[in-house]
């Protein structure tokens, strides 16, 4: 744990007080052994530890699904919501309390199917939050039904002859929406890069959308295996303003492309290719306005100011008593 001994005030916790990774953990996760959600949880906890995020000022929000159990495993504030609605809940929290750190965990069914309308609009609102799409390309919690991101031909309990439709591409979809400001992709099996991308997502002031390819060994034991084993199945997107892989990572993942996160056209091209899997920051534009900034949140209204405002409104519709 790095502590800030020079200027102790700059960190809420320093020295012996510093929070450890364990401090950010609550209950023992109940995900299957080998489930990619474990890796995502570990990356977020590690990130919180690195930044020493005050747990009481941090809120993890989710919908419903295996992945949406996430808030129960974080020793922060949490909101395990209803299926598909994590984003509007998170928006309400952020709007009421812009100073809170907001993380959203959502599954591919949760975000791209039942919550798709909210997803599109959340991109447009561009509120400052870090959104982790746990994309296992399947419905896990309800036991193996096709999801909008399931590859065509995948045999599931609702598609015995193989799924009939081409998958929806969450990266392309996100990059197509007005006000998109941050899009990245990570895979659960490269923890250092996952961690690094979460860090950059957090520090982007806006709606940071991170699609994470997440293994589901329970229902799709074969889908990810080949990709996990073969480092060339991943193409790292590197840039001085984006992902800068450590030498160790760079040695293993030699398939790389230099990509400027400001280049949305190239980002869209990259997004459209799924093999090899692009990993890194596809797009980032810090200049996109944030919805929460449209309202003056500093204005603290007291009973007194409210009373004055109310009286002023009432004046306009008042009929005075006879003198």
């Amino acid at each position: 744990m790095t502590t800030c001994n020079l200027i102790p005030e700059c960190c809420r916790h320093s020295g012996d007080d510093a929070l450890t990774v364990e401090d950010y953990g609550r209950a023992l996760p109940r995900w299957c052994l080998g489930c990619g959600d474990h890796a995502i949880l570990a990356a977020v906890q590690r990130f919180c530890r690195d930044e020493q995020l005050p747990p009481e000022k941090t809120v993890c929000v989710s919908g419903i699904g295996c992945s949406s159990r996430f808030p129960h495993y974080m020793e922060t504030y949490g909101f395990h919501g209803i299926h598909g609605r994590a984003l509007p809940i998170a928006e309400g929290i952020k709007m009421a309390r812009p100073e809170l750190n907001v993380f959203v965990s959502t599954g591919d069914g949760d975000c791209c199917s039942i919550g798709a309308a909210h997803w599109i609009h959340a991109i447009r609102y561009n509120m400052d939050m870090t959104v982790l799409l746990h994309d296992n390309e399947i419905y896990g919690l309800t036991k193996k039904q096709a999801s909008p991101t399931s590859p065509r031909g995948l045999t599931t309990n609702t598609t015995p002859r193989g799924s009939y439709l081409n998958p929806l591409n969450p990266l392309s979809a996100t990059l197509g929406v007005a006000n998109v400001s941050f899009v990245a992709q990570a895979v659960d099996w490269i923890p250092d890069i996952l961690h690094e991308i979460i860090r950059m997502a957090y520090h982007h002031k806006g709606f940071s959308f991170v699609r994470i390819l997440q293994r589901c060994p329970a229902y799709l034991p074969n889908t990810f295996e080949a990709r996990v084993k073969d480092p060339s199945s991943v193409r790292l997107l590197t840039h001085e303003d984006g992902l800068v892989p450590t030498p160790a990572i760079a040695r293993v993942y030699g398939n790389q492309e230099e990509h400027d996160p400001l280049d949305i056209h190239r980002a869209r091209e990259i997004a459209s290719v799924s093999d090899p899997i692009p990993v890194g920051i596809l797009y980032r534009d810090p200049a996109v306005p944030r919805y929460e900034d449209s309202f003056d949140s500093d204005r603290t209204d007291t009973a007194e100011t409210t009373g004055t405002a109310l009286e002023r409104e009432l004046d306009k519709i008042t009929i005075q008593a006879s003198a």
Binding site: R26, A27, P55, E56, K57, V59, C60, V61, I64, P71, H72, E75, T76, Y77, G78, F79, H80, G81, I82, R85, L87, P88, I89, A90, E91, G92, I93, K94, M95, A96, R97, L100, A117, H118, I120, H121, S294, F295, D296, R299, T300, D301, T302, A303, E304, T305, T306, G307, A309, L310, E311, R312, E313, L314, I317, T318, I319, Q320, A321, S322
Partner: protein, 625 residues
């Protein structure tokens, strides 16, 4: 009430032609866009400023731009004004002004026998013979039916003052009305100044000119005056419709977040609120749909800033799952449902009280929530303040029911005096004692303290899953039972604090008429009328529907018979094929019969408009006979 007899020819005003009355119901109808609504609202405002009791009702076509001269396109306003305060729109119209005969046709059912009709006569000479023919036929038919049709050359008179008579004719009409009712023309001029405040002097002058022309024309050509004494109020009053009252109530309650998706007839509340919030702080979030709106409000409430979401029927249905989440996680939430005609898209602009049962029982599983029905426009204001307070005290969902009639009708009520205790407290950020449990349900009350993000030691994850006192997912069925019990107990706790509603009339008698929501004014007026003839009839009106205040059962049992009157569906007891085994009772009747085991009867209608006092009066008489 007697009808007015307008002589056909201009004669000097004789004393006998002055009618001294205590109230009148006036309607102004036109094609949409001709300004009948503005004229009616202005007339209502002038009446209010003169000291009359006033109740205005909007006449709204279903479409934005219905075809001209169509029956369904009637747009306008109905104004009931009286010497004493009025609590509802009253009965059929005494006097109607129409800018063409077609818009009148759909209104005939709302006119008193012998009602006076002032009709624009330009259609008589319309170059299109089918128009001229339709006009003449309608005038003849109305005459035949006993209405007193008075043809007025409105266009012709207006053209003496302006080049385009279509714009401004409504102010000529306002002048006519001021002439007939001997209104204060200075107030009328001021009203025009205020409506056109943002327009040029020339526009204001032209409209004042038309007003004066209308006034003079009425004076010269009608030897009829209707005199209704006005009394200046002894306390300041405000004029508002129910949606305005709700918006003001939201501000007064200290809530800063209103999440909504546009839907008639709820939207205008958020229009007005958006404007006020610009000045006060706070914001209206127009979400992508009602589900998002409800979830957004829940998110804000969870984060410590109690929020409101406002909607109408279809949107209310969409919110159900999220409402259940707030119930389960015990997050305060205020939901306003401005009811309209249902089911489905139903009748968007029309009045109905069809959502009571879905509000009480809505959302799957046992989802206890508080239901308050505003009984008047004034009550719309106070109900929101009460709702916010209860929501935060009990960490519960509070639904405030109003309907299209309260939403769009305007009336007067005593000006509220701001009370600091209405205001939401600042967000609690004090540390939670170590080890404290989020759902540490009090065994007596079922209440548990909410922990708000930012409070040290309060970290927990709320969930819609069954959970234990730490908010951890519960796998033990006994924990589920415990949660349900405590959430239910909160209703009991609140119920014990409620006061028994007062009985209107004597505490016992032959018949008790029970209602809820917007029908209060009409029911009590009907009951007053039959009581004045010595009938032993009283009324009871419920504001809290869930929980029901104590003492209701005792009141019901003190009457020979109980009749519930509502604006929703019920089978008539004598309907074809209806018997006790299959009769569907109206919503409140179902609730009262089930809870109090009283053989209460019901009468209801779904005519898309407020129930008239005379209708209720007839129903009461029938029940008594």
């Amino acid at each position: 009430m007697k009808t007015i007899d307008l002589p056909k020819s201009s004669t000097a005003l004789r004393e006998g032609n002055v009618r001294n009355l205590t109230e009148h119901v006036v309607e102004i109808v036109s094609d949409s866009g001709e300004g009948a609504q503005k004229c009616g609202q202005s007339f209502g405002t002038i009446a209010a400023r003169m000291g009359y009791g006033v109740w205005t009702v909007e006449i709204i076509p279903a479409e934005i731009q219905p075809p001209a001269r169509s029956v369904a396109g009637a747009s306008g306003n109905r104004i009931r004004f009286a010497s004493s305060p009025v609590t509802n729109g009253g009965d059929d119209a005494d006097l109607v002004i129409a800018l063409n005969e077609q818009v009148l046709l759909g209104r005939v059912g709302e006119m008193k026998p012998g009602c006076t009709i002032l009709l624009e006569n330009k259609w008589k000479d319309d170059p299109d013979s089918s128009v001229a023919g339709a006009y003449q036929r309608t005038v003849d038919d109305l005459d035949q039916a006993g209405f007193k049709v008075r043809e007025v050359p409105m266009e012709e008179e207006c053209l003496k003052h302006v080049s385009n008579a279509r714009r401004g004719k409504n102010m000529f009409v306002l002048g006519l009305l001021c002439g007939i009712y001997e209104f204060d023309t200075q107030l009328a001029r001021e009203q025009i100044e205020s409506i056109f405040a943002k327009k040029s002097r020339a526009v204001i002058d032209a409209n004042v000119g038309l007003l004066e022309a209308g006034f003079a024309w009425a004076r010269e050509n009608f030897d009829l005056r209707i005199r209704i004494p006005a009394t200046r109020p002894d306390q300041p009053l405000v004029v508002a419709n129910g949606n305005t009252a709700i918006a003001l109530g939201i501000v007064a309650s200290g809530m800063k977040t209103c999440a909504m998706y546009p839907i008639t007839p709820a939207t205008s509340a958020s229009h007005y609120l958006s404007e006020i919030f610009e000045k006060v702080g706070g914001f209206v979030h127009q979400a992508e749909d009602e589900i998002a709106a409800c979830c957004f409000a829940i998110g804000a409430s969870y984060a410590g800033s109690c929020a409101v979401t406002i909607t109408s029927g279809p949107g209310y249905s969409l919110k159900q799952e999220a409402i259940g989440l707030a119930v389960m996680a015990e997050i305060p939430l205020v939901v306003v449902n401005v009811q309209r005609g249902g089911p489905s898209t139903g009748q968007p602009t029309k009045v109905e009280q069809g959502d009571l049962l879905t509000t009480v029982f809505g959302s799957h599983g046992d989802a206890p929530k508080i239901v308050i029905a505003a009984a008047s426009i004034e009550d719309c204001f106070y109900s929101i303040i009460t709702a916010r307070k209860i929501a935060e005290t009990f960490n519960m969902v509070v639904v405030v029911l109003t309907d299209a009639s309260l939403a769009t009708a305007q009336t007067l009520f005593p000006r509220p005096r701001y009370d600091e205790s209405w205001h939401a407290p600042p967000i609690d950020q004090s540390p939670v004692p170590k080890g404290a449990l989020r759902y540490d349900w009090d065994p007596e009350t079922g209440l548990a303290r909410r922990f708000i993000p930012g409070q040290p030691n309060g970290m927990h994850a709320v969930t819609g899953l069954a959970h234990d006192r730490r908010s951890r997912v519960a796998y033990d069925p006994r924990i589920n039972q415990e949660g349900l019990q405590n959430r239910s107990k909160k209703l009991v706790t609140l119920q014990k604090t409620l006061k028994t509603p007062p009985v209107f009339g004597d505490g016992e008698g032959d018949l008790l008429v029970v209602g809820w929501g917007s029908t209060r004014g009409a029911i009590e007026e009907a009951v007053r009328r039959v009581r004045s003839e010595g009938e032993k009839v009283s009324a009871l009106h419920l504001r809290f529907i869930q929980p029901m205040p104590p003492g209701i059962g005792d009141i019901l049992r003190r009457f020979e018979r109980v009749l519930i009157v509502e604006n929703n569906w019920s089978d008539r007891a004598d309907g074809a094929g209806i018997d006790e085994d299959n009769r569907r009772y109206s919503a409140l009747a179902l609730l009262l019969r089930a809870r109090y085991l009283v053989d209460a009867d019901c009468w209801s209608e779904v005519m898309g408009q407020a129930i008239k006092p005379a209708t209720i009066e007839n129903v009461i008489r029938e029940k008594l006979s």
